[in-house]
């Protein structure tokens, strides 16, 4: 119990994160921390192969992780939505990623339904929260000093049956629903995705990209904290004798110089190119690619952007018509 953040609350604004001790007995006062569930399944640095020189050249041995079972307490609806998107990419596309799968199998998620929204939250507009709908083993809702528990999987039901709990009264269930609903209504940010993806494709030449490029640091923090960003690169680390080499993947970002490099040319040389790539993929082409938005409305990219760039604000500016905007397929600037 002493490991739980009892009494702590988080305050998040663009480019600003602060924790406050309120002195209350609230266990789940911190809405969300600097990372989602992503690092538990898509590890920031994952050894893929250990390769050794042999007489016949080399032998590549998979370095599959053997993770312990991990239970995460306090995942939010946005985190679950992010996990579902990463599952879609790493487990249910053309190739199943065995490293992600190994970690995913060992994850037990105890979600918490949000009854307080941060100023940076906009899950309600993305229809991913604040109630955890699927993807959890257990989901908790705090109502006054009561905890309402709901099982979302066989493993979750199994655990519940081992605890001596009393069935929830209907009034409590209704009250929990009201609290979650109130949390949704209290969200001050929203992302207007009704006209996506096309409206953002059409905004490819909008002057707002130049304006945001003046603020964007291309530091990649937004992509690092995003629950859905999945870009990674491979790092090869031979030992000094060059007899053994470690082949590992690590988180990468579309904001780096190397990302758009193709023999001698960089497809996205400028910060404008990189920000546009990120936002257009996240909010628009992701829909065409995976059948869902790449944004879950957690607001982490807003909070953890060192200079507080707010994607909801950027999108709304980009969707405001501009005389210079053009449509897909029209003549374009040179590459």
């Amino acid at each position: 119990m002493s490991d739980l953040p009892i009494g702590w609350r988080d305050h998040q604004e663009p480019g600003r994160y602060r924790l406050e001790q309120t002195g209350s007995q609230d266990i789940f006062g911190v809405v969300h921390g600097p990372q989602s569930l992503k690092p538990f399944v898509f590890a920031p640095r994952e050894p893929l192969l250990q390769i050794e020189r042999t007489k016949g050249g080399f032998a590549a041995h998979p370095a599959l992780p053997h993770p312990e079972q991990i239970a995460v307490i306090g995942a939010r609806a946005c985190d679950l939505a992010g996990l579902a998107i990463q599952d879609r990419i790493f487990l249910n596309d053309a190739y199943r990623d065995p490293y992600y799968a190994a970690r995913r199998d060992e994850l037990f998620v105890i979600a918490v339904n949000c009854t307080r929204a941060l100023s940076t939250c906009f899950c309600a507009s993305m229809e991913t929260g604040p109630r955890a709908k699927t993807g959890f083993d257990l989901a908790l809702t705090k109502v006054d000093d009561m905890l309402l528990i709901e099982a979302g999987s066989e493993a979750g039901s199994g655990l519940l049956s081992e605890l001596s709990l009393s069935p929830a009264h209907e009034n409590l269930i209704d009250e929990a629903a009201r609290c979650i609903e109130a949390c949704a209504r209290s969200q001050v940010r929203q992302l207007d995705h009704a006209r996506l993806p096309q409206a953002l494709y059409d905004a490819h030449d909008h002057p707002r990209w130049d304006e945001v490029a003046g603020r964007c640091l291309a530091c990649a923090n937004c992509t690092m904290v995003c629950p859905t960003c999945f870009c990674h690169t491979v790092e090869e680390t031979p030992d000094l004798s060059n007899q053994q080499t470690a082949h590992a993947r690590l988180w990468d970002s579309c904001f780096t110089q190397e990302h758009g490099y193709i023999h001698g040319k960089n497809i996205r040389p400028t910060i404008k190119d990189r920000y546009r790539m990120w936002l257009t993929h996240k909010l628009a082409s992701w829909i065409d690619q995976f059948g869902m938005s790449g944004c879950v409305g957690c607001g982490r990219c807003i909070t953890w952007c060192p200079v507080g760039i707010d994607l909801t604000e950027e999108l709304s500016a980009l969707l405001t018509s501009d005389s210079r905007s053009s449509v897909v397929g029209s003549p374009v600037e040179g590459t």
Binding site: G15, R16, Y17, R18, L19, P34, Q35, P39, P44, R45, G214, R215, C216, L217, A218, C219, A220, N221, M224, V225, T237, P238, D239, L240, S241, N242, L250, W251, D252, S253, T256, Q257, E258, Y261, N266, P269, T270, I271, T303, W304, C305, P306, V307, G308
Partner: protein, 273 residues
């Protein structure tokens, strides 16, 4: 030395100019890897480590320090002629180091203040990076350099591969390590977003703000990279983190203050002080 492979092993020189020797100490601190390095390379010249100093030519020369005297300006030219591959190590060699603060000041007045007989001091009025004097084949940034980057570059050279080190911002590695951003969570004026990775994000990992010892993430030299957006970060330091202009100027005018993107930013904020 009695190693029979002596003639085959590439000859290494480690040469010092104006510097604190910290990068050379990073080599001596390689521990087990230092022994392996000694087996791979013939360490022919490394005065910090050994009094056995043999003349060139050298296959690889690691150069620490900046050029601050006329004598050193000649010495680096001679070394370049003796070195097949010349690698600069550390912020002094790369950017002139902390001693390049003299480039914005009056060195003569320093001499008069510090030394009773300033006429004996033969020093240039500037501290300049090695690359302003000779062609540099590869650069290892940092103050001090990172051991694993050094080993990686030497390993690549030994097997005939063009070395390459990442030019990402410190933030990627900081986030991979699970650090909580000190800029966002503590309001510290961290230079990580515009600084080149390679250190392992050690300062933010200890709750400290990065002070840019690995230099600008991109655009410090001619090449494909663009200068990092120091303008936006500096504006944020001033506008949101309440740094006054001279503090903003000092953030950028540090160990790598003479490298172009940082220098340009510090000059802008000097105008505002």
């Amino acid at each position: 030395m009695s190693n029979p492979d002596e003639r085959q092993r590439p000859k290494l020189a480690v040469v010092k100019f104006a510097s604190c020797d910290g990068c050379q100490l990073s080599i001596l601190n390689l521990e087990e890897d230092l022994l392996a390095l000694g087996r791979m390379l013939d360490i022919a010249y490394f005065p910090e480590a050994s009094s056995d100093m043999r003349p060139g030519p050298y296959d690889i020369a690691l150069v620490e320090g900046s050029i601050t005297t006329a004598e050193d300006a000649h010495r680096i030219l001679a070394l370049r002629q003796q070195a097949k591959v010349l690698i600069t190590i550390g912020a002094c060699a790369m950017a002139g180091g902390i001693q390049s603060l003299r480039n914005w000041a009056d060195v003569e007045s320093f001499k008069r203040t510090v030394y009773p007989s300033p006429e004996y001091i033969q020093s240039l009025s500037t501290s300049t990076p090695i690359s302003e004097h000779v062609h540099v084949d590869f650069e290892l940034w940092g103050c001090p350099i990172d051991k694993s980057q050094l080993l990686r570059v030497i390993t690549d050279l030994m097997v005939g591969v063009q070395p390459r080190l990442p030019a990402d911002s410190v933030c990627l590695e900081c986030k991979r390590r699970g650090n909580v951003c000190v800029l966002v969570a503590k309001g510290l004026p961290c230079l990580g977003p515009v600084t080149k990775t390679g250190c392992g994000a050690i300062c933010p990992g200890m709750g400290r703000d990065c002070y840019g010892c690995f230099g600008p993430s991109e655009g410090a030299r001619k090449g494909p990279g663009l200068p990092p957006n120091t303008t936006s970060l500096a504006r944020h330091f001033h506008g949101e983190l309440q740094l006054i202009p001279i503090e903003v100027m000092r953030r950028f005018r540090g160990i790598n203050g003479s490298v172009s993107p940082f220098r340009a930013e510090s000059d802008i904020w000097e105008q505002k002080t």
